[in-house]
Symmetry: C2
DNA sequence: ATCATAAGTACGAATAACGAACCAAGTCAA
DNA sequence: TTGACTTGGTTCGTTATTCGTACTTATGAT
């Protein structure tokens, strides 16, 4: 009577359940029922039904009062990874260049205004930086990957995204003002690469170059390395290597479709 | 009127929606609505609601009449991977041993009666075998990983699983009779490793050893290599290397909890 | 002990999902 | 071409399902 009936094509209970599954991120890998309810802003009873359904479906496990993800969630991602030939085509390229560069190489895209790590080189030696893996979300405004991704958008989209993003302060050097950051994005777009210095981790310089072509959904590849005394020379070489890596990735056509 | 009266704690629409998301696997990375409905055995209208909800939530994308997964599904798995420190602790171990062995190393567990690849070494050189990645399902009865996993179960569970599994014929050498396969599983359990020869890919020998301790949820690590003329000697070395790899993985305690 | 928080149960009301029936637009074979 | 078939989309009455309040039962900390 009162309610403008919402889209009959959308299953609201399903959407709520998905929200339950999505709250399990790296920061909170296991939660209690009440915590889920709070974070999804659902009624406790509703969250409970969603969680129990996920348990029954095998995506969550319940030990005591804690709920946590099961390996089965990997199967959901597996379809995407295999369909896009990540194992066969993307990963080798990332590894190859990571080895040449001597640092980890990451492939990332935008996902609901956050940086989503699509793949990451796995070097046997070399510094293991942060324990990021495919599927991880990383900061948007203070990483070279994030800024380069925003630079892949049209200027007005980038502005909107930047303004809606919150700007934490990871380090002393983290720029806090959007007005300071926006020029960096514009610069990145015009010069075709992005550098950040110590804004996410002190002493670490981030490098990123675009992979996607203009108009496509943004995909970038990047790396990071501690600032050394011959940083100037290295920067050139590193960016060039990343550009080649990006070109190789473009050739695989796996980034064509998002 | 009648008695639907199923568990009030389970949200059936949510479960149906999850089923829609789960049908997207490596074999069928993009499907039409009708196809989804057929494979999930849901009414077309029901499947449509589920799919559209997934589109709105950003997990599916619709191009023309085809629906396919978006990278966002990676975010679901990302929580699991980060929580268990796969990037930091598991992957380096797999890579290190893969390099030593000279072949890919895979970590796998059981998921609803199928073999689920948890992680896989990414070698820069060396043979890139099948394009398997984390989250992929691989055959159960004709791979060393699968048989070793079944060997990790109690005998009666293994028997039940084997009997419920279908037995395709990948190669000429694929054993087709459960009565033939069961002894192989028993043998694997008693000797602590499993070998398969050309039952999945002709000329390829599969090796697997357990990682999980008895009673835990089964986790195994394995590798594969083409049969050469010095296979006999290599088998020894390879199994030993895998055992060490398994021991290293046990020490990380990441497989404790599945 | 008390207080606070979490989890489980129950149930009537409200509604959201179901699926049949139908239409329009492709698609393919004859 | 025609005609049979498939697919996607829409509508709509029925009813099963979900919602959320309220109550009760753990668990745990002070």
């Amino acid at each position: 009577m009162t309610k403008p009936e919402q889209d009959r094509n959308i299953s609201s209970s399903f959407a709520k359940g998905l929200a339950v599954l999505a709250v399990f991120d790296a920061a909170t890998p296991s939660m209690t029922l009440a915590e889920i309810a709070r974070r999804t802003r659902q009624d406790r009873a509703t969250a409970r039904r969603g969680a129990l359904t996920l348990v029954q479906a095998g995506y969550l496990r319940q030990q005591g009062r804690m709920l946590s993800l099961t390996p089965r969630v990997l199967a959901l991602a597996g379809g995407f990874l295999q369909a896009n030939q990540f194992g066969r085509r993307v990963q080798p390229i990332l590894n190859q260049h990571a080895r040449k560069i001597g640092a980890e190489v990451s492939l990332a895209t935008l996902d609901q205004g956050r940086v989503l790590l699509l793949a990451q080189s796995t070097t046997e030696h070399g510094p293991i930086t942060y324990g990021f893996t495919a599927g991880a979300h990383i900061p948007l405004v203070h990483t070279s990957l994030g800024r380069m991704l925003m630079a892949c958008l049209a200027q007005e989209e980038a502005v909107a995204l930047l303004e809606s993003a919150d700007i934490p302060q990871h380090t002393e050097q983290s720029r806090r003002d959007a007005a300071e950051i926006l020029p960096q994005i514009t610069k990145a777009r015009s010069q075709g690469y992005c550098l950040t210095d110590s804004e996410f981790e002190p002493g670490i310089i981030g490098y990123a170059v675009p992979v996607s072509r203009p108009g496509q959904t943004p995909v970038v590849v990047g790396s990071s390395a501690p600032r050394g005394r011959d940083t100037g020379r290295n920067t050139e070489a590193l960016l060039q290597a990343l550009q080649i890596c990006a070109a190789d990735l473009r050739q695989t056509n796996v980034v064509e479709d998002l």
